[in-house]
Symmetry: C2
Subunit: 234 residues, 2 copies
């Protein structure tokens, strides 16, 4: 196996979206004097994301960026929580919390090591501007910022995986997807990519225990990016 490039899923794999979003929601609540179960609100916000992408995939919505899908879901959740007196600018600022997610503690150090040996790119359903703003804030050292937005196809559509290989000018089996989500990795494997599972048991918070998938299913199994770098000799 000669892997030349690593493509990283971002939400949950590189960044701890839930802790960051809950923190931003709590701050929003304090600043605006509104209350809600912000942990639950964060989970509902995230849970709305896959169905929203399905509206795009089915053609019910034209191509719509994640920023705009996040905003649709947020508007519904705020309405449902009876929070209606917030200015559009302030809702927009809250929506951009997804641009301000903190990385997992190993992410920057692990990417820095992996970058010495491989091309490291994002392959996220997040839009390019979200990923660029996130990377600048968190000092994520990407070689390249690729997104579903560039391919006009959300993962797990195969166009996203094959499009990444094509832009990086590598064969599909020279590209490895790194992700914390078995479904994403299975779709990548179906498209011919190599796969590395990174276990992020805390992605959904302390009350939802995640199970590690079977060792045999993916090319590499890692506890974090440093462990992956060890295994890849980076």
């Amino acid at each position: 196996m000669q892997v030349r490039a690593l493509a990283f899923d971002v939400f949950g794999t590189v960044v701890d979206w839930r802790t960051s979003i809950v923190g931003e929601l709590e701050e929003f609540g304090r600043n605006h004097g509104v209350e809600a179960d912000w942990q639950c609100f964060a989970d509902d916000w995230r849970a709305g994301y896959a169905p929203a992408m399905d509206l795009v995939r089915s053609g019910e919505l034209p191509w719509t960026r994640i920023d705009d899908l996040h905003r649709r879901i947020l508007d519904e959740l705020l309405l449902g929580a009876g929070i209606t007196a917030i200015s559009d600018d302030d809702v927009d600022d809250l929506n951009r919390a997804w641009h301000r997610l903190d990385p997992w503690p190993d992410a920057v150090a692990g990417l820095t090591r992996l970058k010495e040996r491989f091309v490291v790119t994002t392959l996220s359903n997040g839009n390019v501007s979200l990923l660029v703003n996130m990377a600048k804030r968190a000092a994520l050292p990407w070689d390249c910022v690729l997104s579903a937005e560039i391919f006009g196809h959300y993962k797990p559509d195969r166009e996203a995986y094959l499009g990444t290989a094509a832009l990086l000018d590598v064969a599909p089996d020279e590209l490895m997807l790194v992700a914390a989500h078995p479904g994403d990795l299975r779709a990548a494997a179906d498209a011919g990519l190599r796969t590395a599972f990174v276990f992020r048991p805390a992605e959904h918070g302390p009350e939802r225990t995640l199970r590690k998938p079977d060792d045999a299913e993916f090319d590499f199994m890692a506890d974090d990016f440093l462990h992956l770098a060890d295994q890849l000799g980076a």
Copy 2:
């Protein structure tokens, strides 16, 4: 004026293609025991690039990456020079000289300063893999690697300029093209972008003196990236 992002032309603006290509050709000649006027060869190689892109723009060729356009031109030039006994792998390696161009002396330091204040992206006709390889080798600190390849349109088509603004989620007049080429800047201005001219008098070598364009034509005139950073307060 509120500029939020800077898009950089690359060949000639960020990197000194001619010195690098002449050096690579001389090394190729020594390694293979072949001779030619390598300065002239380099100029002809570069000169073939605009007509080759025009074949794509006119539809005579389907979308073709710069790597493949460079290779077509190179094959013709080698044939014309009577250099015919080189293996395909060795010609391919020579063709990838365009991935190994050295930056102008101010480029890395200037980009590093500008990146503190602005999103800095490539906007090059070079393909993504070429730009990524170049950036890794030369330590160019891009936030994002955008290319005509992503838009399916070579500059100066307006889709390339407007597509960059769209992916970065900025208005056209919040994006500034930085380039050493007036034609590129004029097309960017026509699309609504801001413009910064950087004077690279040595781009075409010691025997072709370049003229600085009129001061009034572009938003900024800079002698190099450090001078541009000074003017932009970065």
